[in-house]
Symmetry: C2
DNA sequence: TCCTGTTGTCGTACGTTGTACGGAGTAACA
DNA sequence: TGTTACTCCGTACAACGTACGACAACAGGA
């Protein structure tokens, strides 16, 4: 591990030109002399995505990817400068999967975009760990998505700046809600324990230390929520509720602008 | 690394009783025979928090924590069953720092709660990486926070379930927005490169591959946003904007309920 | 006071990680 | 037929979490 990079396992700290060339698949032309390449960046990234989908981000090691492709570990470094850049490529590839249908009203359009994002995160839970909102990898697919999201709120009375803010806010919210929703599923796979089993293990222990008289509100609301969801929390319900409130807020903004 | 746990570096997969006892500091009484303990869980966690604050989550290793305390690495394992449980304790301790002032209106109260959370994440950026919304460590401080958040929206016309949903939604949004806001600062520390420098390195490369005619909306809005924020994005502005929309949405819900 | 059992301390070792380095082999151009 | 550019990859290193077990320190019972 030559250089540490704190808790970010993603790229942007290598050569910017090399990173961009990798994402946009440019600058691979001047080949002539040596042996033909036996791999491509896309083949490597596809294998890596498959691995991360199936076994989680922690299982995504260069050794495992190489094994999956039947090559030596270090061969990967002929095509990809480091793991961080590989993850950037994986990220942009998956961004290309997000394809919400168009709809007539801005509200439906944003709902469909939110839903499409959520579904993608569900298929590739590691995306949520890997996403960087500041300094994102500027790949072709994430840029195309930015444009598509903006067009969903174009011509409805918002300023350019407000369009940008609405799109950013929606992205932030969906990521947060998806994190909660996805976590349940992936922790079940990682621990072999369902949410209900987890709660049944912890609830009696909590009862021993939790004083309902000290926190009557939490006790009452927690009990109601627990009964309703048959668990501590229902992520799907939470996602819909939050999205509805958020879009109501956008609606109020539009009403204000047009009034 | 005896057991892998995918991309979760936090606890809950060990003995539940031990985890809870650690968080609530119970069950440490029956000491008598051997030598006096030279450390406490709190001293260890405090050192770990200091380290994670200063150098990031990646620098948080058992070796480094032990070094900071002047003990052998393995001595830590007398007090803490594993790193995951230590992180849980760190999490709950920091939860105890979140102390928003009370206010007269529910809107102000939620704003102050959101702001207090954001400030805490700013002081301890690793919290965002470590937080698990599903199966959270059920420590005393996070439970107290849940109660406090609920009381902020009590008696304003919402059902118990809606109170729970509003609090959850706020938490999700603040986490997401904070992630964006915090990332900028921590990537600057990790890479030694400011956001502006990053953008100046990538912008010319992006211009070479980005076709404004293909994505006119992104080109126009991106330019306006870039000029306004003097960067790709202003996290503080984004936080305020999103929070305002979200609270507008809650306001609409309350109006509906009381109408 | 000495023995005994309990507890805290921690050195060593193992399996994992990302990747720097350099050598070996291959294919096209001079 | 070199020469040269290129792919392939074995080896090595530092750092990680932690299982294991030897050792030391102390309190209670004899």
């Amino acid at each position: 591990m030559a250089k540490k990079s704190a808790d970010k396992h993603y790229g942007g700290r290598g050569d910017p030109a090399r990173s961009m060339a990798l994402l946009w698949r440019t600058g691979t032309e001047p080949r002539g002399r040596g042996p033909k390449p036996g791999l491509t960046v896309d083949r490597i990234a596809a294998a890596a995505i498959e691995l991360a989908d199936a076994e989680g981000l922690a299982a995504l090691s260069m050794r495992r990817v190489a094994e999956k492709l039947g090559v030596g570990t270090m061969s990967l470094y002929t095509y990809v400068p480091a793991k961080a850049e590989l993850v950037d490529v994986m990220f942009d590839l998956v961004c290309g999967e997000i394809a919400p249908p168009w709809a007539d009203t801005w509200r439906e359009r944003l709902e469909l975009i939110a839903r499409a994002n959520l579904e993608t995160y569900r298929r590739h839970p590691w995306m949520l760990t890997v996403m960087a909102n500041s300094r994102p990898p500027l790949g072709p697919n994430s840029i195309a998505n930015y444009d598509r999201d903006l067009r969903a709120v174009e011509g409805i009375g918002l300023s350019d700046l407000e369009m940008d803010s609405v799109v950013a806010m929606l992205g932030v919210y969906v990521q947060g809600a998806a994190r909660t929703a996805i976590e349940a599923a992936s922790s079940e796979r990682d621990t072999g324990q369902s949410d209900l089993e987890w709660w049944e293990a912890y609830a009696p222990l909590l009862e021993k230390v939790f004083d309902p008289e000290k926190y009557p509100t939490a006790a009452r609301v927690g009990a109601v929520a627990g009964e309703t969801y048959e668990s501590a929390y229902d992520p799907e319900q939470g996602f819909r509720f939050g999205l509805a409130r958020l879009l109501d807020g956008v609606e109020a903004l539009i009403r204000n602008r047009n009034a």
